[in-house]
């Protein structure tokens, strides 16, 4: 960091506890006067096809490392002023928050693009395993073809 390259603080967490979107978002305002845009994404549990709940399994240490790596990629690609990623683990019911991505930047385009990038990358590159619980049984999920295509599209844009 020097006078011409503002810092991009990165904070990531994998946690059982719920998170406070307001507090996480306001933390991204810290570089007041430099931050002109904050884009956020929250994923929530849907009840598609009678899903009763999800269970997210993580690998403590490696999961956080994977989140940190995705954030570092975004910070290297766009001029950002802060990134927060919080991913919940454990059993989550419909309507519950799963993941928070927040990105601060000087301008809206970079914040919105980096936020989309991270939401896409999390689907296929966050070290997490997701199980759906339904009345008919439990199923482990894998990234969909669409998820893989979304991640591939960011390489084409590089």
């Amino acid at each position: 960091m020097n006078a011409t390259t503002p810092a991009c603080p990165i904070q990531v967490a994998a946690q059982f506890d719920d998170f406070d979107v307001g507090a996480l978002t306001r933390r991204l305002y810290a570089q007041a006067g430099a931050v002109g845009a904050v884009a956020t994404f929250v994923g929530l549990v849907r009840t598609d096809d009678d899903v009763l709940a999800l269970t997210l399994q993580h690998y403590p240490g490696l999961t956080e490392h994977s989140l940190q790596q995705l954030a570092a990629e975004a910070a290297a690609r766009w001029p950002l002023l802060g990134i927060e990623i919080v991913h919940r683990v454990g059993r989550l019911n419909p309507g519950e928050q799963i993941v928070y991505v927040g990105v601060a930047s000087g301008h809206r385009r970079e914040a919105l693009t980096a936020c989309s990038y991270l939401a896409d990358q999390l689907k296929t590159r966050a070290i997490l395993w997701k199980q759906e619980h339904r009345p008919t049984g439990d199923t482990w999920l894998e990234p969909s073809d669409a998820d893989n295509a979304s991640v591939a599209s960011w390489h084409q844009q590089a």
Binding site: G61, L62, A126, W129, W140, L141, E142
Partner: protein
């Protein structure tokens, strides 16, 4: 001792989330451990050989089958991930 971890659907397929293996003096790389598993735990070795897209991690860092491994390390097998 080598601690071996299995995650997600893989843990169900191998029937356990964790396995402790006595350290073998000849082990140098992950693939040496896999070769031993074929003799000591053939059912697990067969599942690992069949699953597509498994990732390997040594001490919580992704590596290849040629990654170095040492006594007291943690070896993990990871099926395809999905977050978000």
């Amino acid at each position: 001792m080598l601690r071996v971890l299995f995650f997600g659907s893989l843990a169900e397929q191998v029937g356990m989330a964790e396995l402790a293996l006595d350290w073998q003096p000849g082990w140098q790389q992950v693939q040496d451990v896999l070769a031993s598993l074929h003799r000591s735990h053939p059912a697990i070795a067969q599942v690992l050989a069949k699953r597509r897209g498994l990732l390997i991690a040594v001490n919580q860092r992704i590596g290849a089958a040629t990654a170095a491994i040492a006594d007291q390390d943690e070896l993990a097998f990871l099926p395809p991930v999905t977050g978000g």
